[in-house]
């Protein structure tokens, strides 16, 4: 994906977003609310037309891709009251049937309904009316509907929004399973750093309509942690210094001033700190500044 842009009137929602996603990878699009995550994923799903840029997913442009491209991708949508009179079994076999013509020996489609129900932990609920489901049960069904065609690439937009901790953990297991056993390529969005660190092979951070970081979760932590904040007082005056090699800096500091240095404090910046600052700045309406700061910290 190259130079993705999206404009609504005079408002640039996305401003030159570039990233690649590799087969078999779990890529997490992380960013505060309003950063452009949903817009990006909807463009990639082919549901929204972009203003500019080039995209190639599974060899095709999602905006013009045909039905066979649809058959190779899956989208997990958030339901709220659709199909209230249906049961999961009926609905999954109904939707799954559309994939039958796209079945190949290497990639049999669709998923057998009973197996699928087991994977998402809904065997007991298979014949219950969907209208009687709780929020968490509905979301598991959403995932089942998204993967019923055994997609090679799966899109998930804020999949765990509104989950309780148990449901969230179950969902994380499911994503790992899809990625490890089915080698499904997964693109998901979240505003939760913790979730991104748990799930993603690679994290792309989006803020102010552009990408401010693109690395593995460990890589990001390492880069941020590279700098530390050193604070001290001397002659009643406070000093703050950001240092790459904090140990060497402190050694020099003490060698130079010795006993004059008081209240010494060394703090490693964590990825979480950097991300929280980004979110705060973003929410106070300084999206551009937030993006700049973050890009600097993780440089």
């Amino acid at each position: 994906m190259r130079g993705l842009r999206m404009r609504y009137g005079d408002n640039d929602v996305l401003n030159g977003v570039d990233f690649d996603i590799h087969a078999g990878e779990v890529l997490c699009l992380l960013g505060p609310n309003g950063a452009g995550k949903t817009t990006t994923i909807e463009i990639l799903e082919g549901f929204r037309i972009r203003s500019a840029g080039e995209i190639s997913i599974l060899g095709e442009d999602p905006a013009s891709a045909g039905e066979s491209w649809r058959a190779r991708t899956g989208v997990v949508l958030q339901s709220w009251r659709d199909h209230p009179r249906w049961t999961p079994r009926r609905l999954l076999s109904q939707l799954g049937a559309y994939y039958e013509p796209y079945s190949t020996p290497e990639q049999p489609r669709p998923w057998a309904v009973d197996d699928l129900l087991e994977v998402v932990g809904m065997t007991d609920l298979a014949d219950r009316k969907i209208s009687t489901f709780s929020g968490g049960q509905r979301r598991r069904l959403d995932v089942a509907m998204g993967i019923v065609g055994r997609p090679e690439l799966l899109f998930l937009d804020e999949p765990t929004a509104g989950f309780d901790p148990q449901a969230r953990r179950d969902f994380h297991h499911l994503v790992h399973r899809l990625s490890d056993l089915e080698s499904t390529t997964i693109l998901l969005t979240t505003h939760d750093l913790d979730e991104a660190e748990k799930l993603a092979d690679r994290v792309v951070i989006l803020a102010g309509g552009r990408i401010v970081a693109d690395d593995s979760a460990e890589g990001l932590s390492r880069r941020v942690a590279g700098e530390a904040e050193v604070k001290w007082t001397r002659d009643g005056e406070r000093f703050v210094h950001a240092a790459v090699d904090a140990t060497a800096f402190v050694r020099n500091l003490l060698a130079q001033y010795g006993d004059e240095v008081r209240d010494l404090e060394v703090r490693r910046a964590s990825l979480e700190d950097a991300y929280l600052t980004l979110v705060q700045q973003h929410e106070s309406g300084r999206a551009e500044a937030a993006a700049e700061t973050f890009a600097e910290v993780t440089r």
Binding site: L77, L95, E100
Partner: protein
């Protein structure tokens, strides 16, 4: 078998499932009961009204007119509501996300809406025939009922689907779909002969399929002599066929385009926005 045919078959299966689920649901059963009670009540209260022809009971004239109007109402307002609702709740988006899902969705919707007319007809016709005498002048009239029903559906259902596709939200179906259809029912010779209205209103009424569906139904149920009550003293069968077919052809041309445009515009954030709007009744 082509992939499109395959999708149509899945869609028809969907339509059947939806129909079975509908007749099993108390909500829908109440709706059928409600229209039946309303129709029969109207026929009963006005049972002694004068029809202008000796020996022709009021119910015999009013029932076919009402049937025509109810069919038109059902296949316009029904799909309009269904589409508007399923645009908002994400049913359509789900179908957009599966290969050829929209083809299946529309096939299912067409079958479901057509099948829904059956219980509607049964709950009105069966008690009517038990309550009133001399409703059907000639048994061969059932044949006419059948073709008027099919042609009427083909003419009116695309209107309903188009309204459903264009309407910006479920709450707007009332003013975009329900209201115009009710006004049309008022001027289409359902409750009183259309000749009692001003000339231009008669012209407007005869542009739309509802008048012709009522007329076709009356031609099926009533004796030949009753044609004298109609415009020009005739059932105008050829004209009925031509008008209804024209609507059907125009509908078949316009509807797929409108539906494609609607499908293209479906996104998750739109569904999300509708969900939030539905929780906010006072704006």
């Amino acid at each position: 078998m082509s992939i499109t045919t395959h999708a149509v078959r899945i869609g028809l299966r969907r339509g059947r499932t939806e129909f079975i689920q509908s007749i099993r649901s108390t909500q829908d059963q109440w709706f059928y009961l409600f229209t039946a009670v309303l129709t029969l009540g109207y026929l009963w209260i006005r049972r002694d009204a004068d029809t202008g022809i000796e020996g022709l009971p009021f119910a015999a004239v009013a029932l076919p007119s009402l049937l025509g109007a109810l069919v038109a109402f059902g296949v316009i307002v029904g799909p309009a509501y269904a589409l508007a609702m399923e645009k908002e709740d994400g049913t359509l988006l789900r179908h957009r996300a599966v290969p050829h899902g929209m083809v299946g969705y529309v096939s299912g919707q067409l079958l479901f809406q057509s099948m829904s007319l059956l219980p509607q007809m049964v709950v009105i016709l069966v008690p009517s025939f038990l309550l009133f005498d001399n409703l059907m002048a000639h048994p061969s009239g059932w044949l006419t009922v059948a073709w008027v029903l099919v042609l009427g559906m083909l003419a009116a259902m695309p209107i309903g689907m188009t309204i459903g596709a264009l309407v910006p939200g479920v709450q707007k179906v009332g003013s975009w779909g329900m209201l115009p259809v009710m006004v049309l029912a008022g001027i289409s010779g359902i409750f009183y002969p259309v000749q009692q209205l001003w000339g231009w209103v008669q012209v407007v009424a005869q542009v739309f399929p509802m008048y012709w569906m009522g007329l076709g139904m009356r031609s099926a149920f009533l004796p030949e002599a009753a044609a004298s009550l109609e415009i020009g003293g005739s059932w105008r069968t050829t004209q009925t066929v031509v008008v209804l077919l024209t609507w059907a052809v125009v509908g078949a041309l316009v509807m797929p385009r409108v539906l494609r445009r609607m499908a293209r515009r479906q996104t998750g954030s739109q569904v999300e926005a509708a969900r939030e709007a539905s929780m906010q009744w006072v704006k």
